[in-house]
Symmetry: C2
Subunit: 252 residues, 2 copies
């Protein structure tokens, strides 16, 4: 395997080291990641801004490539420049600090790196742990990563597939298993924190609470709360097929 790793927490984020360590069991690893945190960057790409790519030493002594763009830019630069002659056969992203379950899959920079791989026809997996603490011990989850990567390699899903993996914030020993589930219905409810700057002008901090709007149990949010790892296959065809036939009947 020729494995490309990226993330959205930045090239020096600890999660990337754990992911690379496991990935090296499966093949050669190339790291291309943003040179600054890019959380919640969605599937942004840089138009009208030149991109830089340079080597940077990571905390475990290995080398990666830092990029001044978004997570999706990193994957584009990897496949379009750095690995052009030797394209990746697997794209991994993460391990992210914090959940990318439910609707967060749309805001997530972690998943956008993986999705960019999927769009290019390369199998891709995004990993997230529901723990925002910088000191979070991601290495305890290595066996989970290993099992999921192994299955994804062994049983190819065909062109354009992306797996969204979320790991609950509990010790490895307490994790009950891995469940394959759909994205939960839900959304973030904003609560803006309005403040005044020293000049009397208002500014706003975006804060919010997640609102689960799902009544069934077979979704990522629910299994994560129950102590399971969630795995959700995702796509980038956004067509709402359930409404397509309805709208076809409109008379314009």
């Amino acid at each position: 395997m020729n494995i490309l790793i990226s993330n959205d927490d930045g090239i020096q984020a600890p999660g990337i080291l754990t992911l690379a360590e496991v990935a090296r069991e499966f093949g050669a690893v190339t790291i291309v990641a943003p040179n600054s945190p890019q959380s919640a960057m969605g599937h942004a790409i840089s138009l009208g801004k030149p991109l830089r790519l340079y080597k940077e030493k990571l905390a475990d002594g290995s080398w990666g490539h830092a990029c001044n763009g978004t997570p999706a830019d990193c994957v584009k630069l990897a496949t379009g420049v750095l690995m052009k002659e030797n394209l990746p056969t697997l794209v991994l992203s993460g391990i992210n600090h914090g959940s990318n379950s439910s609707v967060s899959s749309i805001y997530s920079g972690t998943l956008s790196a993986a999705r960019e791989g999927a769009i290019q026809g390369i199998p891709a997996i995004g990993f997230s742990v529901l723990d925002h603490h910088q000191a979070a011990d991601f290495s305890q989850y290595k066996d989970i990563l290993r099992k999921i990567i192994f299955q994804a390699i062994s049983q190819p899903l065909g062109n354009g597939n992306l797996l969204n993996v979320n790991i609950p914030r509990i010790p490895f020993e307490e994790i009950k298993g891995i469940k394959v589930v759909r994205q939960a219905k839900g959304r973030w409810v904003e609560e803006f924190d309005e403040r005044k700057d020293p000049f009397g002008e208002s500014y706003y901090w975006l804060t919010g609470k997640f609102l689960l709007q799902d009544t069934e149990a077979d979704n990522d949010e629910t299994v994560l709360k129950a102590g399971y790892v969630s795995v959700t296959p995702m796509m980038h065809d956004l067509t709402d097929y359930s409404r397509l036939e309805i709208v076809k009947n409109w008379e314009f």
Copy 2:
């Protein structure tokens, strides 16, 4: 109707004026849009950066609200602060300069503003014209906007619906009609333009060509090429249901 309008080309982009002009036929209009171009911002939101919101006069003499964030931030600020007591009943985004068909629906800032409305349960429509020229005459397409907004209001699609509307770059008289179609299979193939800065270091401009990978005709790319307006209902549940059952059979 209480209509919120945003875009990704920035609050002073001409497309927003045409869209607001048509929208006022249907109700009260509030404009909240980025204070700088935000093309290809995907569904990015601003975490860790305070947001500003201020009134700004537009070229037609009307007033809008500018925000220093992304298109999705604009909609969040509108529903969370500005219109909190009088929530929008329709979110419109655009008119965008350039196509948001096929996989561009994922990179698009225009659609992320509309999608943010849909996530919040507000019906939403994103409008794009396949014309990057700043002097593009968007006003000729007013009747198309009018017809689509009228249908969307008259025949509600229920919670979380988003329509992606693309208009071909041909004179209004030559447009053959409106077709409701799915997102085309396709992707952008990167061609990075590598240059050297005055200090001898490389930098890269992201350029690319769209590669249509669809063999059927019932998609947005194909009908746009044939001279039709495309309307695609879109969703924000990214679950790949076609692969969900397959992955459920994996043994971890």
